[in-house]
């Protein structure tokens, strides 16, 4: 069967099971937009290419399937560079297709030419410039395979216009053996000797903590993690990328560690004698000063990416492998050492029978939780507290609601005060810290999970970066809801200037009512609401929840002086965690 390259490309996406493409057409990608008219694949027309990329990421976050975005050459391609960098940092499977000028024009500085494979070399897991239409099905199959296996990540396929227009003989690779990837062999199975050694360390530990990262979610290992934690009775911290990987309401859950983590999660890691790092990467926002991080802990580090093991902290046992497989292997190894099921004693005379009693450790953890809970002024008086908005929203929405956030104070409050009891309900930009992520990511999430309520918790600074995608949401009838925690500032930067730059506020003021968020929301086809007091919060949320035929934006006018606590100042040891504002602290 003869097809054009463009037809072959779309047909290849269909063969991959793609159900939606987020994109925006232009000159060099024009041929590929024609067969979309005849395809079963839904196309969501974004208003800016960055929106296409973040929507694809949001879709991938909640479905586990690769998000697909398609844009044209030159500025279309460069506009999606930020989402690629974001997806690379957070290991999000994403396939981006870019148009390119004709092969004959490449290198001539042609109109809308940009060497996007070169630009994205370091921020994609891999990329391809296709120079022969006959290669397209194979390259698409390779791209999806690379994006979704091993450590997932974004990939890019650059398709010159003459390649799209050329004729090719259709085929579809029937197995991975037909792919041309001689150097790509992801390993998923853990080394049994190391797994056994890890099991021994688990049984020797007196103060163990499971340090669960985003790799748990990527590996669909939430259930395996729960079994491991319960069988061993070990408390779990869930990093920013792993919120929901272990239920917040579980008695063993300590919540989020790190720079703005809660006291117990941070301190339990600091005091632990064994950190079981599962799909986490010792990010600087988690470790604080590396040399002072969990100084007495032995470390078991499980990661699908062998290069992560030992990158920051040298482990006592490093296991390269898929988190789900390795956790399951670890449980088998623990069985072999005599560990009983929950509620039953270990086998007599086994290694598990000689295990130290964890009760003192768990009691210590409980004591920290009681002594240092997350705190803010709950009196309901004075300026509206952003934490109160998050808590009320949490309490008035279904508990499997998907929450997307931007980056900054609102992101930390969302992560701290939401109760994540289900995996794949938290969509955020962790590693890259991309402001403006929330609105388009929420749209992608809602497209992927139309059955679920999707709320974006956004900041006023973030919202202004990508709000135009609400036009997309209105036009495509994607009823997302947006809660803007509007404190009229670039709040996190303001917080740092207050604390570390002697309240010298430099270029952080945004104004609460410029723009007028309600009018702006209405102009984009959404329902716009404004909330200024504690009493108005719940009614506005209930009104928003009742609307399902269009997006809703609520402008919550929150306290500009509220800061995110706890906080470990950058470069400090996690021992120096600041739990809350001190008496007479500046700013308020």
């Amino acid at each position: 069967m003869q097809l054009t390259g463009a037809q072959a490309l779309i047909k290849s996406l269909e063969m991959q099971g793609v159900e939606v493409i987020f994109g925006l057409p232009g000159g060099a990608i024009l041929p590929v937009y024609d067969p979309i008219l005849d395809s079963s694949i839904r196309h969501v027309l974004v208003r800016h290419e960055q929106g296409a990329g973040h929507a694809a990421e949001g879709y991938a976050h909640v479905t586990g399937r690769p998000g697909v975005a398609m844009v044209t050459s030159g500025p279309g391609a460069t506009n999606i560079v930020t989402p690629l960098a974001d997806a690379m940092m957070d290991s999000i499977p994403m396939v981006v297709i870019t148009g390119q000028v004709a092969t004959t024009a490449i290198g001539t500085d042609a109109f809308q030419e940009c060497p996007i494979t070169g630009v994205t070399l370091d921020i994609t897991k891999h990329n391809w410039l296709v120079t022969d239409a006959q290669d397209l099905p194979r390259v698409v199959a390779e791209a999806f395979y690379v994006a979704t296996t091993g450590r997932p990540g974004p990939v890019l396929i650059d398709v010159p216009k003459d390649v799209s227009n050329a004729q090719m003989d259709w085929y579809w690779p029937s197995s991975i053996d037909e792919l041309d990837l001689p150097g790509y062999h992801p390993q998923t199975k853990g080394d049994p000797v190391r797994v056994r050694r890890a099991a021994e360390l688990v049984l020797e530990a007196r103060r163990p903590v499971i340090y669960a990262g985003g790799g748990i979610l990527k590996a669909r290992a939430a259930e395996a993690l729960r079994v491991l934690a319960e069988r061993c009775g070990i408390p779990v911290v869930t990093t920013l990328m792993a919120r929901g990987a272990f239920p917040d309401s579980h008695p063993l859950c300590l919540g989020m560690p790190g720079m703005h983590g809660n006291y117990t999660a941070v301190t339990a890691m600091q005091r632990s004698d064994l950190l079981i790092a599962l799909g986490s990467r010792f990010d600087d926002r988690v470790t604080g000063k590396v040399s002072a991080f969990a100084p007495d802990a032995r470390v078991i580090h499980v990661d699908i990416d062998p290069a992560e093991i030992g990158k920051v902290r040298r482990p006592d046992v490093g296991i390269a492998g898929d988190c789900k497989e390795v956790i399951e292997e670890l449980i088998v190894a623990l069985d072999g050492l005599g560990l009983g099921t929950v509620g039953s004693p270990p086998a007599p005379g086994s290694a598990a029978a000689a295990r130290p009693d964890l009760a003192p450790w768990l009691a210590q953890v409980r004591a920290w939780q009681e002594q240092f809970p997350l705190a803010y002024d709950r009196s309901g008086e004075g300026a509206l507290k952003p934490q109160f908005v998050v808590e009320t929203l949490r309490d008035l929405t279904p508990d499997d609601t998907i929450v997307a956030s931007g980056v900054g104070q609102h992101q930390m409050w969302a992560s701290q005060y939401w109760r994540f009891d289900h995996p794949y309900t938290w969509v955020n930009s962790g590693g890259a810290g991309t402001m403006g992520f929330a609105v388009p990511a929420a749209i992608g999430a809602k497209v992927g999970r139309p059955d679920k309520m999707v709320w974006a918790i956004d900041g006023d600074g973030c919202f202004q970066m990508t709000a135009q995608e609400l036009v997309t949401a209105s036009a495509e009838r994607i009823p997302v809801k947006v809660a803007i925690l509007n404190n009229a500032y670039l709040g996190m930067v303001r917080q740092w200037q207050e604390l570390f730059y002697a309240e010298r506020y430099s270029e952080v003021y945004l104004s609460p009512d410029l723009p007028d968020y309600v009018k702006w929301a209405e102009a984009m086809g959404c329902v716009g609401l404004k909330v200024e007091s504690h009493e108005e919060v719940a009614p506005a949320i209930e009104k928003a929840n009742a609307i399902d035929d269009r997006p809703v934006v609520i402008d919550f006018r929150t306290d500009a002086f509220e800061k995110v606590y706890p906080m470990v100042p950058a470069g400090s040891s996690n021992d120096d965690i600041i739990v809350g504002p001190t008496e007479g602290e500046g700013g308020r």
Partner: protein, 189 residues
């Protein structure tokens, strides 16, 4: 050059456009220092071999190899400790050599078993292939004569054929022998 600072990594890579840029980009992105680099096709047209001498003070070797191995186009990586490798490098140098100084140059070249490859009226171009230390010695000795231009290829290496196969690990997902170091700066913000 302190031998322990440098290790040789040879990577078998797909012979596709942009592969060298990916390798070089990885080194610059991660802040690894390359001491020398040589690229050439292998006996199989699908693959090339890149021989990189890396400065292992800039990052532990395992981390460099681990990151390199993540590049999709890198098929396999062999790490060679200098004492376990046969290394060769080639030097070409054009020297200032008036007719009366030529005898001295030719004598030196002959002692080192090099070759005269070109002779001009006042200059002479010499070639020497050999182990890097020999090339270093030769370079030191010709410097006082007056170097007009000098080029070295960077070294290529293969494992030494001692008794059995030399100490050669193919690194694929293993996590043995992690380098001992305090890896990241504590800079944040």
């Amino acid at each position: 050059m302190a031998a322990e600072r440098h290790h040789i990594v040879t990577a078998l890579v797909e012979n596709k456009s942009g592969v060298l840029a990916r390798v070089a980009g990885l080194f610059s992105r991660r802040g690894y220092n390359i001491y020398s680099l040589a690229v050439a096709p292998t006996d199989n047209v699908r693959f090339s071999r890149i021989t990189i001498v890396v400065d292992v003070e800039s990052a532990p070797l395992e981390q460099i190899v681990g990151q390199l191995d993540k590049l999709i186009n890198v098929v396999s990586i062999t790490e060679l400790a200098p004492q376990a490798a046969v290394e060769r490098e080639l030097l070409l140098a054009t020297l200032q050599a008036q007719p009366e100084a030529r005898a001295q140059v030719m004598q030196l070249v002959s002692v080192f078993e090099g070759k005269i490859v070109d002779i001009g009226r006042e200059q002479i171009t010499v070639m020497l292939a050999g182990p890097p230390s020999k090339i270093d010695d030769f370079e030191d000795l010709i410097r006082p004569i007056g170097i007009v231009e000098l080029q070295r290829t960077g070294r290529v290496a293969l494992p030494k054929l001692e008794r059995q196969a030399a100490r050669l690990h193919s690194i694929d997902g293993g996590t043995d022998d992690r380098g001992d170091h305090d890896p990241m700066s504590d800079e944040a913000g």
